[in-house]
Symmetry: C2
Subunit: 364 residues, 2 copies
DNA sequence: TTGAAAGCGCTAACAG
DNA sequence: CTGTTAGCGCTTTCAA
């Protein structure tokens, strides 16, 4: 400490080099001060070098670079965030990580965000509005630079937080849904009612009249429910019958099998639409095993265009929604809102309606 | 400002209530000071109330509670982290979000972490070691309280960061792999060589001698490569033949189909092991369509026990590895390391070897 | 039970 | 081109 031969490095530098480590508050990692001391500059210069190397002298820069390397410095993003007021985090809240559909969307989001220096903070709700509320509260604590939620149905408290966020200038985005009337937030998705309607029209147009719809085993999935309702409504309007079945809450392929057996017992409908492709695929496998001809005896229509549906029975007819593109579109939208809006004032942005496509294949 | 009728709230309170908002540094959200002002206490008391309500007086607590509610206060986790030195983030780095296997693991991890106040910061590498290195660097900036990486193969720089992290007291964990020799970090997983060996033994035990192995279309997947090598080694040791095929880098089910056609052209082997169940399932579907009897003419063995493999051809034989449980085990391990280790000294922990299981079904 | 002071590591704003 | 100063919002420590 009391070193009479103290070199030209300043006292401040000395302290910093002495690694606070292992005692008191610091956590022993190198900080800007550590690097600055080693390079014999002010920490501000190091900070500047990190973000705008051009604004730092050649020789100074080199010294800093080697100090950076030798200390193994990693910037503390919390400190940066706190000081600058902006974080590089985008919070995304999805119903389930394991769903192939949402996984694709997340991949698209993450792929597009990278390269813009934004990182993804992911949370899943398991289709529970309560958990969604908790998760929103939790991620807001990280001051994300944008918030992406799934769907347009939220608890009151969640809605309040989302609105509050918007007034503070935080871009909030609802994905995987779209509604022309309820437009409180920017939406990137499609109308599930329209999808249900589209599915019914397709089967009706093929001449099927004795129809059924198989709901998912997850009743909390509002969007799936909407598709089912719209399906039934359209069928009724056409003066035909639409029986509703509910798949059990088990692994989807097995649930699809189960649904087909149930329908068999109740009297096979002429054509069935499913809440998703996995259910349809399961039912299809079951039908083929029982030598029930598809679509001869029963027509099958799925939703989601999962890879699997392309491979079974010559291709299961389905509805494609481009999950990856939803993620990409979200990212584009967010980037626009983040850069344009600054942090002040309600975030403006355009909703973008994705158009689902009916993909007729071999099962209808 | 110069309000002569200034009430009993202190000057500090006045300033805080006046919402710094929209100008300068603050971002306009309520802070501890805002709440404290409204409750006429010091911000320290609010902070205390938030973490240990018992240490605050009844009546004071009530006032704080209502101030909290009316301001819609959300704690700024960055500030908390910076001040306390510990964050509630666990960083996990996986090859791909879209893979059903890793998705399961992430779900297990996240399910187990919740309830312990830990959040998941997820990053994916797309099987690239370079990207892994970048991602490790990036997540370390968030001072996570633990780091989970996938596999035991890393770039030199990544290894250096991981080792550095350990010396600083940060628990680092490798999942989805296990090696008795190379034990630099705590491992939670299984030996892929053992799996390859196990697969070969199974087919050999069934009497098959003309064997093949289909590698994934992702050559960067070292673990899959290891399984293949071990498979080939065991087969050679048994004095039999093992031809290697490489699936194209396309959607796995389609790739499996492609692989089967390729084998057909090259002369069908008697039994084939695949790098994963999706490849096996694709091949199986192709075989059935071409009226090739399974396992009569060709036996099929997958890896991963995907839900799909249970549903095709009476069940595809495969190897189960319990991906969800890997996540759960990681979480348990981490929690132990985080709580025990404090922040000082190299983090100790026990590796845990998961035992993969061969699940003989209808295709072998 | 409560509060004042100091500081976590960084950056904005302003000097030199 | 470089440095100084003053915080960001919270928690630690210590004093009342």
């Amino acid at each position: 400490m009391a070193n009479p031969e103290k070199s030209s490095t300043s006292a401040v530098a000395e302290v910093a080099v002495a690694r606070p480590a292992a005692r008191g508050r610091g956590h022993g990692r190198a900080t800007l001060a550590t690097v600055a001391a080693q390079a014999c500059v002010a920490s501000m210069t190091v900070s500047r070098y990190l973000r705008a190397p051009d604004q730092v002298g050649r020789e100074t820069g080199d010294r800093i670079a080697s100090a950076l390397a030798s200390t193994g410095y990693t910037p503390n993003k919390h400190a940066g965030m706190l000081a600058s007021g902006r974080s590089s985090l985008v919070a995304a809240i999805i119903p389930s990580i394991a769903s192939p559909l949402f996984a694709e969307t997340v991949q698209g989001l993450s792929d597009s965000l990278r390269g813009h220096g934004l990182e993804l903070l992911l949370a899943s709700t398991n289709y529970s509005l309560e958990r969604e509320e908790e998760q929103i509260r939790a991620v807001l604590g990280w001051s994300p630079s944008a918030l992406v939620v799934t769907g347009r149905r939220h608890s009151d408290a969640a809605l309040a937080m989302m609105r509050q966020a918007v007034t503070v200038g935080l871009p909030v985005l609802e994905m995987w849904d779209h509604d022309a009337v309820d437009r409180s937030f920017v939406q990137v998705g499609f109308s599930h009612r329209q999808v249900g309607d589209m599915m019914a029209r397709h089967l009706l147009a093929k001449g099927y009249r004795d129809l059924a719809y198989v709901q998912t085993g997850v009743p909390e999935d509002f969007r799936a429910a909407e598709r089912g309702e719209a399906f039934a409504a359209r069928v009724r309007k056409a003066g035909a019958a639409a029986r509703m079945f509910h798949a059990p809450r088990i692994e989807p392929l097995a649930a699809g099998r189960h649904a087909l057996r149930e329908m068999l017992a109740a009297g096979l409908p002429r054509a069935v639409a499913f809440a998703n492709d996995n259910l349809a695929a399961g039912a299809c496998l079951q039908a083929l095993e029982q030598k029930i001809s598809v679509p001869g005896e029963i027509a099958l229509l799925g939703f989601g265009d999962f890879p699997l549906s392309r491979q079974i029975a010559g291709g299961i007819s389905t509805v494609g929604v481009g999950p990856y593109d939803i993620g990409v579109a979200c990212a584009r939208q967010l980037l626009r809102m983040v850069t344009q809006g600054g942090l002040i004032g309600p975030a403006r942005g355009r909703s973008s309606l994705r158009l689902p496509q009916l993909l007729p294949r071999a099962t209808t």
